[in-house]
Amino acid sequence: MTLGLTRRRLLKTAGASLLGVGAASFPMPGLIRSARAADTVKLGCLFSSSGAMANVEGRLTSVVRMAAEELNAKGGVMGRTVEVVGTDPASDWPLYAQLSRQLIEQDQVAALFGCWTSVSRKSVLPVVEQSDALLYYPLHFEGEENSKNVVYLNSPPSSSVLPAVEYLMGPDGGEAKRFFMLGSDYVWPRTINQQLKGYWASKGIPETDWREEYVPVGHSNFQTLVNQIREFADQPGGQPVVVLTVVGNSIPDFFREFANQGISALDVPVLGLDALEADFEGLDTAALAGHLNCWAYLQTAKGPANDAFKAAWAKHVADTGVPYRGDVAIDPMVSVYDGVHLWALAAEKAGSFAVPEVRAASPSVSFACPSGYEIAMMADSTYVKRGVFIGSLNETQGFDVLWQSEGTPDPLPFSPYMKA
């Protein structure tokens, strides 16, 4: 046991201790943050403000901020100020997972609000499951998933797409007999179309009466496909309908080509499952009037809750100067707004921000959604029960309510039509 302090050894120790300091300093910001977090509670956002989804997704972060301000104006949640941490996953699916991990571990957010496409949700799913976090997901989607770590704020096909297609097949909707499915090539369109085919088969519609085509995500040249649709529509066999599941900037590109080739919604209506008011911002909709969409909220929904929401959003846009239109409110905006309030109500009820307790308290709280329905989470799954609207596009880039459901139908996480 001599004091063999050689030069080499000295260097080694010094290096190791330096490394130790380095390693120790790494979590330091986290420590500082959690110390400061005594009087605040954080909500994390995963919405792209760049890339293919930016046009629609970006505004959701602003809505979360607006909802947080509303909570703070009433004294916060359990006396804590709500702080919103925004990120930009840049429409890059793996980046959603990376940023969600950062938000959970580094920023220690109480809940995540995020994702638009299903592929981004699927990429975040393992992260939230591993660290038992809570992701509030604001889009209607393909279903076939039931994770206790995701609150599905919007409807699976059983309570959105199928009622809409049923309407189109009924006498009021034009007795649709033949269907052209056109989608972007990823999980949401493929699963929806799979379920639709199963549904039609169960109704006795022959396989020759539908066609299925996919385009790459971000596809913009729809000439050939609109030609194909025209050809399909002009063949005998009854009223044709296009079920459109392309996403993002492909939607306005498709509708522009559709109108330019002179096809009227009165002849071939398009049910745009992801089509929103915002997708028509740059388009002349006089030639497109009558095309359809189906969501759990439409801007033209009647009721005081909707008026208050629209006024709040217009004011938020004017106050903060965010580059979005203050007079356009879309379903995912309302869904994420509902999500923040549902989370706050559940946390208040549970008296805790811990995920298991918030989750346990969630089914027992309800919120007056701007859509006019009182919405609440299911007791046996993390799906939120929403009303259904079918919208018809009008000349002023908005959707009029064509039909809306009596109450809030129970969402079915797993579709019985998937086997077909």
């Binding site: 306005p252 080739q261 018809s392």
Partner: protein, 529 residues
């Protein structure tokens, strides 16, 4: 005593048979069943057609109110407008609607019937022959509320040859189910005059229940005729789609070919120059809307030189601040131009926003012209093709005829030798960059009626345009044209066969295979590098 006067007026109106009839006709629109509502629209059209000009004008007002979603129903009374501002649909006199008056729900089938009824009534109301001719063409496609009674009344009253030219074949077409076989044959011929698949389906459906052999023969002949035309139309449609896609590729690649070919600079910001051109066009549009609203339809044309100059200016600034310091370091220029592209995207995003810009669509880029069969020339794509052709011709002339062009070619072939011959190579570079970025600006204007204009629009073009430049042969304009046509046409032919996803894969595989066989591209540049 306005109230009493109103009551007297109402009593007088209720007493008149015309009011009673009109109340029944308009009230029928409030029926609960869709089929009854459609029948009510037909009845309105027929009443207008047979009841004289006043009746037709009244019926059209009601029908248009249906289409504009202005009709309110209380029990079986129809009102136009809401609350105190409402009109009684039968008298068109002001008559406050009851509070429980509900808007008449309107779906696509009702809208189709309303459009048809409105067009039919326009034939009797409008004094403009052009408006009547337009209404007649609408009726060709929308016959939901049209009956032979209406058509015969219209034919009897019509004197204008242009309108008659539409209505007479339409009358013939309506005879498809007539008991007289001669009339059926005439109907088939009238339908087959427009050779679309839709009309072929009409004839085929009629023939499936046809017993008369002469009618069968006429129908089969008509269908064969349509089939030939449709086949021609399909070939033309494929060529046109390919041509339009090629023009987009060429527009995006032309400027790149010049910069890449001349200096070997890989300009990854080229897509963003396209975006800047489109944004400049948007600013031009807004300026014209504010200052010279009369010229708003021509803003795309006015924007052409302005977008060219704006994009060229940005290109020159980029050259002065970035590229000039990095000549002969291709990897660095690649990274630097990429940084410039990110900078431009985010600059636009922060200052203007991520949303798609709203462009006024002038008449020359809206809709399409049917040519043969089901082939439609869409005007927005024709606009892009025209601009691409003009830009290409302009660039070729510039390079072949002017001194500047000669300098560019000299520098591209041998930089040192050109310098020795007294050409200021750096000056030429600068001008060539201005030209290359300006062309991207032009592309931005041409693509604005075709694509979404937002900060990220450029990213979609950069890969495709590099593919065109590399495939065509570095710096070869003829190569760029050939490559864009090749890629465009192959894409369009593959798409219906294997789907859009596979078409992209096939095209990329073909490009890889081609480049492996012929790394210098389609047209190899002559000269020393």
């Amino acid at each position: 005593m306005p109230v009493i006067r109103l009551l007297i007026l109402l009593a007088a109106l209720f007493g008149s048979p015309a009011y009673a009839d009109r109340a029944v006709l308009s009230g029928a629109l409030c029926a609960p069943a869709l089929a009854d509502q459609i029948a009510a629209l037909g009845a309105l059209a027929e009443a207008g057609a047979t009841g004289g000009k006043d009746e037709a004008a009244w019926a059209r007002t009601v029908v248009e109110a249906v289409d504009a979603r202005a009709l309110r129903c209380a029990a079986s009374l129809a009102f136009i407008g809401e609350g105190d501002a409402a009109l009684d649909a039968a008298s068109l006199a002001p008559s406050p609607a009851p509070v429980d008056a509900a808007p008449m729900p309107i779906n696509n089938r009702l809208r189709a019937a309303a459009a048809s009824a409105a067009a039919a009534l326009t034939l009797f109301v409008d004094t403009e022959p052009a408006a009547r001719a337009k209404a007649a063409t609408t009726l060709e496609r929308r016959r939901e509320a049209l009956s032979l009674t209406i058509l015969d009344a219209a034919l009897a009253a019509e004197t204008e040859p242009t309108v008659l030219a539409v209505l007479e074949p339409l009358r013939a077409r309506m005879m498809l189910a007539d008991p007289d076989p001669q009339n059926r044959i005439r109907a088939i011929d009238a339908i087959a005059a427009e050779t679309t698949l839709r009309n072929r389906t009409l004839i085929a459906e009629a023939l499936s229940e046809e017993a008369d052999t002469t009618v069968q023969a006429a129908g089969q002949a008509a269908m064969a005729r349509i089939d030939r035309q449709i086949a021609i139309g399909q070939v033309l449609a494929t060529l046109y789609s390919g041509l339009s896609y090629a023009s987009v590729l060429l527009l995006a690649a032309l400027g790149l070919a010049i910069i890449f070919g001349l200096m070997g600079v890989i300009n990854l910001a080229q897509g963003e120059f396209i975006m800047i051109g489109a944004y400049a066009a948007w600013f031009v549009q807004n300026a014209i809307r504010a200052l010279l609203p009369g010229l708003i339809d021509w803003y795309l044309i006015i924007a052409l030189p302005i977008s060219f100059l704006v994009a060229a200016l940005v290109g020159v600034v980029m050259e002065a601040l970035v590229l000039r310091r990095l000549y002969n370091r291709p990897l660095m220029t690649l990274l630097a131009t990429w940084a410039v592209s990110l900078l431009l995207i985010n600059l636009v995003r922060v200052t203007i926003g991520t949303q798609n810009l709203e462009f006024h669509q002038p008449f020359y880029v809206v809709g399409g012209v049917p040519v043969v069969g089901d082939f439609i020339v869409t005007l927005n794509r024709l606009f892009a093709i025209a601009i691409a052709a003009l830009a290409f011709v302009g660039v070729v002339l510039l390079l072949r005829v002017t001194t500047f062009g000669m300098n560019v070619r000299a520098v591209a072939q041998n930089r040192a030798m050109a310098g020795a011959a007294g050409i200021d190579a750096r000056q030429t570079d600068r001008l060539a960059i201005a030209l290359g970025s300006g062309l991207a600006g032009l592309a931005g204007v041409a693509l604005a009626p075709l694509y979404n204009v937002n900060p990220n629009m450029g990213a979609g073009f950069i890969v495709d345009s590099f593919m065109v430049v590399v495939l065509g042969g570095v710096g070869s304009l003829a190569g760029a044209v050939a490559a864009s046509f090749g890629i465009g046409q192959i894409n369009v032919i593959m798409e219906p066969l294997y789907g859009a996803v596979a078409a992209k894969v096939v095209v990329l595989l073909l490009v890889i295979a081609f480049i492996q066989r012929r790394p210098e591209g389609l047209f190899a540049p002559k000269g020393r590098r």
